[in-house]
């Protein structure tokens, strides 16, 4: 794939004369839309042109003069997407109309942009900080905002070599810690309203039931809760056991991925992507290398393409197995299926470890290929797994769970989300496909060499919990199918089309690389200015998008179902909070 972010022959300029113009900066594509007509343009894109899935929204800080909001929409029927942008002067207050009324999936992303860039979205239903806490000082992703451990704008830092006396970052900070405070700040005088805005919005959404009047109670689940799969928190208003309203609270694992990513060099970001969705470092790498390879306009070595597919599909199998295993925990059963799932996972991780060097944080991709070839005997091992063991084990899980009556009675008929709503809320991945929408990036806009394999997009139509479970099994079987073809076809040859180099040259421009990660569409939006570091590095994390619809999914259901819904949504906090 050699094109940059592809745009279709879609003439917005003719449809909106004077308000939409082609983005002519070198290396860029898409449209620049007048802020005042944004809502109109977005509505037309959705209704007239059929771009029904808003893939991602993000901000870019063109310090010192402009702020830009970038929207990226796709059609669920497949094909390239449309990229459009709104530019505003970089003078507070910065305001842009919200597109949440058009695509509800933008809600959390706009909150994130407000949190990190300080761009206000007018007409947004609930504009609060999302990753940082209310009361935090500043908007961290702005280029002129510096964190307490700030040293230099770009890595490599000069203090490390040649005169790199070891000084810990703490010693350089006046507070001897990762802290900074405004001038003349007095901690005793802070008045905290901390959680009040959260509870306000919860109240705002409360609908009073017509039946027997009971008191509503607020329950906080998390951030330390065994069923939330990490440090996720949901504030829930309950009427008896029924959920009346719910707000996810996140940011407990906000590790400033994007801020760090904009300081790193292009290559240095690779191991950081491992830590997004820490179950699937092999596929995380892929999205990022895809984006940068687009910018660099290079081809990937043939053998490496196969290695990428093999690793990514093994990763998907392992991810879905764990999900199925853990699902039973969420249902209140105990560990047996999870232990079985971990057994298979260990065998797959052995392959990752032998090939890339670690079990989880593989750091396997390089621009133009992969880092290491398969060591001796590993291909045999993979063959053994995909031809013999994994199909056997998939059937075993089938026998273990699929017909279990208790399991069925808990899962069947509890609707997660229907297809139409799922699209509105930008839900992607297995959850969308379980709701009857056959949207899979591997088919909708094939990347790598997926167009060479014969496989089906797994599809279920009910959209309930049970379908969400079944689709995972289906996908495991499809992945096995792909793998069986890949291990047969894999050619010999070099594993990288480029010379190994630690400082790559990336021409200026923008690129969006997206893949079908086990959890949904994983995309990286990267802007290069031709320097060794990316100017903007944004991750479109499927967990984060899918969680936008959580309230929609849960209201009206029982609290016990909430736990299972969260389970099948398959969130992972490293990616959700980044």
């Amino acid at each position: 794939m050699t094109t940059l972010v592809e745009t279709e022959t879609l003439d917005l300029a003719a449809r909106f004369p004077g308000s939409a113009a082609v983005d002519t900066r070198p290396g860029y594509s898409g449209w620049i839309v007048n802020k005042d007509r944004l809502v109109e343009v977005a509505t037309a894109l959705r209704d007239e042109f059929g771009y029904d899935l808003l893939s991602h929204v993000t901000g870019v800080d063109y310090f010192p003069d402009k702020m830009e909001v970038v929207y990226n929409a796709y059609k669920t029927t497949g094909g390239p997407g449309v990229l459009f942008k709104v530019q505003v002067p970089r003078l507070d207050p910065i305001e842009v109309p919200s597109v949440t009324p058009i695509w509800p999936g933008a809600e959390f992303q706009e909150r994130e942009i407000w949190d990190l860039y300080g761009i206000k979205f007018t007409n947004h239903p609930d504009l609060r900080r999302i990753l940082m806490w209310e009361g935090f000082e500043g908007h961290p992703l702005r280029k002129d905002w510096h964190e307490p451990f700030y040293e230099e704008d770009f890595k490599p830092l000069k203090s490390r070599w040649p005169d790199g006396k070891y000084v810990s970052a703490e010693d350089k900070n006046p507070y001897k810690d990762n802290l900074q405070f405004p001038q003349n700040f007095d901690p005793a005088k802070v008045t905290l309203d901390g959680e009040a805005p959260l509870y306000d919005t919860l109240q705002k959404y409360t609908t009073v039931d017509a039946g027997i009047k009971t008191d509503h109670i607020i329950v906080n689940m998390g951030p330390q809760h065994p069923s939330t799969h990490g440090v996720f928190r949901a504030a829930v208003v309950l009427d008896g056991e029924t959920i009346v309203s719910l707000k996810p609270v996140m940011g407990y694992l906000h590790r400033n991925h994007e801020k760090i990513g904009e300081r790193n060099t292009f290559l240095q970001n690779m191991p950081y992507t491992d830590r997004l969705d820490y179950f699937n470092s092999m596929s995380n790498n892929w999205g990022y290398s895809l984006a940068v390879e687009k910018l660099m306009n290079i081809k990937v070595a043939e053998r490496a393409e196969y290695l990428r597919v093999i690793m990514a599909e093994l990763s998907r199998i392992q991810n879905h197995l764990i999900l199925i295993g853990m699902l039973l925990n969420d249902l209140g059963a105990y560990f047996t299926p999870a232990l079985y799932a971990f057994e298979e996972r260990e065998l797959i991780l052995d392959i990752f470890e032998a090939t890339s060097g670690t079990r989880m944080m593989c750091n396997y991709h390089r621009f133009g290929g992969v880092s290491r070839d398969l060591p001796e005997g590993v291909l045999e091992k993979i063959r053994g797994l995909v031809e013999d063991r994994l199909p056997r084990k998939a059937d075993e899980f089938d026998r273990l769970l699929t017909e279990n009556e208790i399991f069925i009675s808990r899962m069947k008929g509890v609707k997660v989300i229907d297809g139409e709503d799922a699209i509105k809320y930008s839900v992607t991945g297995p959850v969308l496909r379980a709701a009857g929408i056959p949207y899979d990036v591997r088919r909708a806009q094939p990347y790598g060499i997926y167009d060479r394999f014969d496989f089906d997009v797994a599809l279920r139509h009910g959209g309930d919990l049970y379908d969400n479970y079944l689709i995972r099994l289906d996908e495991i079987r499809q992945s096995i199918r792909i793998l069986q073809q890949a291990v047969k076809q894999i050619p010999d040859g070099p594993i990288n089309s480029q010379k190994p180099q630690y400082q790559v040259r990336v021409p200026a421009g923008e690129a969006y690389g997206r893949i079908e990660a086990p959890k949904g569409e994983l995309g990286y939006y990267v802007i290069s200015t031709g320097k060794p570091n990316p100017w903007r590095y944004h991750v479109r994390a499927p967990s984060f998008m899918n969680i936008t619809a959580l309230e929609k999914m849960c209201v009206g259901k029982k609290i016990a179902d909430f736990v299972v819904i969260l389970g099948v949504l398959d969130i992972v906090l490293g990616e959700l909070d980044r």
């Binding site: 451990f149 040293e151 000069k158 990762n178 700040f185 330390q224 440090v231 191991p271 079985y340």
Partner: protein, 216 residues
């Protein structure tokens, strides 16, 4: 059995044929032996490292062999907090609160680079550079993430530490040593540790420092 061997205090001869049935030991030894094989960790994962912690609990590494399989979701029933993952400023109040809720004797393991000293994300604005800034840590396990075997090695290190304790000297049996509550950090414009309010006030009153770059 191997357990007996561990329990026997040196210094007493036990006839060969009685060795599997009788041991002579000290109270300390017995006390520590009982504790070291029943450390119950809290079910508490923060980030990537937590997955390796779960993997260590799962079939292949099976911490049940160490009496550590009972992962308690409640801090009130656990002896050990494995801080597995990146500690963020937003999360640290909850961590300190959980630590306060654990009954004595309690131990903390910092698993992975992040919990030990900030890890790869140390420079981030929302990251606490090591959980030991707020709660006392007993064992540090470097690695990103430590493999399950490395975690097990760390747990054995903790067992060694338990072995060295003496029932007469341990802090939870001292007079007036009712568990000391750690003050819970507050989220203001940045993370504020109540123990350091004065210091913060004094430092914040100082004129702005020159940029850190020039010092580096």
């Amino acid at each position: 059995m191997t357990d007996n061997k561990e329990l026997n205090s040196p210094g007493y001869e036990i006839p060969e044929d009685l060795q599997h049935a009788v041991s002579i030991t000290t109270i300390d030894r017995l006390y520590n032996w009982g504790r070291r094989w029943s450390v119950w960790p809290m079910m508490f994962g923060l980030a990537c490292c937590a997955i390796e912690m779960i993997a260590a609990q799962a079939a292949r590494y099976d911490l049940a062999r160490f009496g550590m399989e009972v992962m308690r979701p409640s801090p009130r029933q656990s002896d050990l907090m494995i801080v597995a993952g990146t500690v963020t400023k937003k999360m640290i109040p909850a961590i300190v609160r959980l630590y306060n809720q654990m009954p004595e004797p309690k131990y903390v393991i910092a698993m992975g680079a992040c919990a030990s000293g900030g890890g790869p994300f140390k420079e981030g604005y929302n990251v606490v550079a090591g959980v030991d800034k707020f709660v006392p840590v007993d064992v540090y396990i470097p690695g990103c993430p430590p493999t399950p075997q490395a975690l097990t090695a760390g747990l054995m290190k903790l067992q060694e530490k338990i072995d060295k304790e003496s029932i007469r000297k341990v802090r939870w049996y001292q007079k007036g040593a009712d568990s000391v509550e750690l003050p819970i950090p507050v989220l203001g414009p940045d993370l504020m540790d109540p123990r350091r309010y004065n210091e913060i006030r004094v430092l914040a009153a100082k004129p702005a420092e020159p940029a850190t770059e020039s010092k580096a």
